[in-house]
């Protein structure tokens, strides 16, 4: 691997990307914890029984939590590019790999949230009518 140091303009951009990666991980983390806590400790929140489809829909939150983990890891790598000297390309490749995993999980999460949005609408309608 070639020893290469990015110029200051690129470093500024990597710093921004690291900050944004950490930023997106926060709502993903809160969403995952909030939804999964409903599933694990339903008695803390609800006086009604949530439909079983909620458990299936929580797969989206698991993917969200994994995405948050990878976003944090990618953020750490991009920060290292700015802070360290000489191993920028290696760190960029690792950071991109983490970002790829994070975006894959985010993509699955968004597809599942779309499905969840529709499915829970029907499920809760049944709860209201039943």
């Amino acid at each position: 691997m070639t020893s290469f140091e990015f110029p200051n303009a690129s470093n500024v951009q990597f710093k921004g990307l690291a900050q944004k990666s950490s930023l997106i991980a926060i709502p993903l983390l809160f969403l995952g914890i909030y939804h999964l806590s409903h599933l694990v400790f339903p008695e803390l929140y609800s006086s009604i029984k949530y439909p079983d489809s909620l458990a299936i829909a929580s797969i989206a939150d698991v993917f969200g939590l994994v995405a948050a983990f990878y976003f944090f890891s990618a953020s750490k790598m991009y920060t290292s590019i700015v802070k360290t000297q000489g191993s920028d390309i290696t760190l960029l490749l690792i950071g991109n790999e983490q970002m790829k995993q994070a975006l894959t999980c985010l993509c699955v999460t968004m597809f599942l949230y779309s499905a969840r949005f529709v499915a829970l609408g029907f499920a809760y309608k049944a709860v209201l009518e039943g």
Binding site: I26, F30, Y34, I48, Y50, L103, S114, K125
Partner: protein
């Protein structure tokens, strides 16, 4: 500056994943748009916070902007692989687009979180 084959392969993989993201965000926007155009159970439930309000409009626009950002970033990464020069400036452009897309995605997720809290709060107050 020109990246090596190993680095180009890395960018190619990232570009491939980025191509799928706009579809997921646009699908989510579409589902929300349909729910606001046609009143459904969700809108009846969240009293005082109608989904057709500013929150829903912001959500739909954020999804569209995020999708646009990811698409542009994907194009930049593809260009890095395909072209022979300007790799560094293309990498900077891709990074900028990624930053924009991630910011809009964060807004989308924050709105989902707020909406989810409203949604559960409504249900949790219901009698058994």
């Amino acid at each position: 500056m020109e990246f090596s084959d190993v680095e180009n392969l890395n960018f190619k993989k990232l570009s491939k994943v980025l191509k799928f993201l706009p579809a997921s965000f646009l699908l989510f926007a579409l589902v929300n748009l349909l729910s606001s155009l046609r009143p459904n159970v969700l809108q009846q439930l969240i009293a005082g916070a109608p989904l057709i309000g500013i929150e829903n409009i912001l959500l739909i626009f954020s999804c569209v902007f995020a999708a646009q950002g990811f698409k542009k970033a994907s194009s930049c990464y593809t260009l890095i692989v395909e072209t022979q020069n300007n790799d560094l400036s293309l990498l900077t452009s891709a990074g900028q687009q990624m930053q924009k897309a991630i910011t809009w995605s964060s807004i989308v997720l924050a709105i989902i979180l707020v909406r989810s809290i409203q949604f559960h709060a409504t249900f949790d107050l219901m009698p058994k």
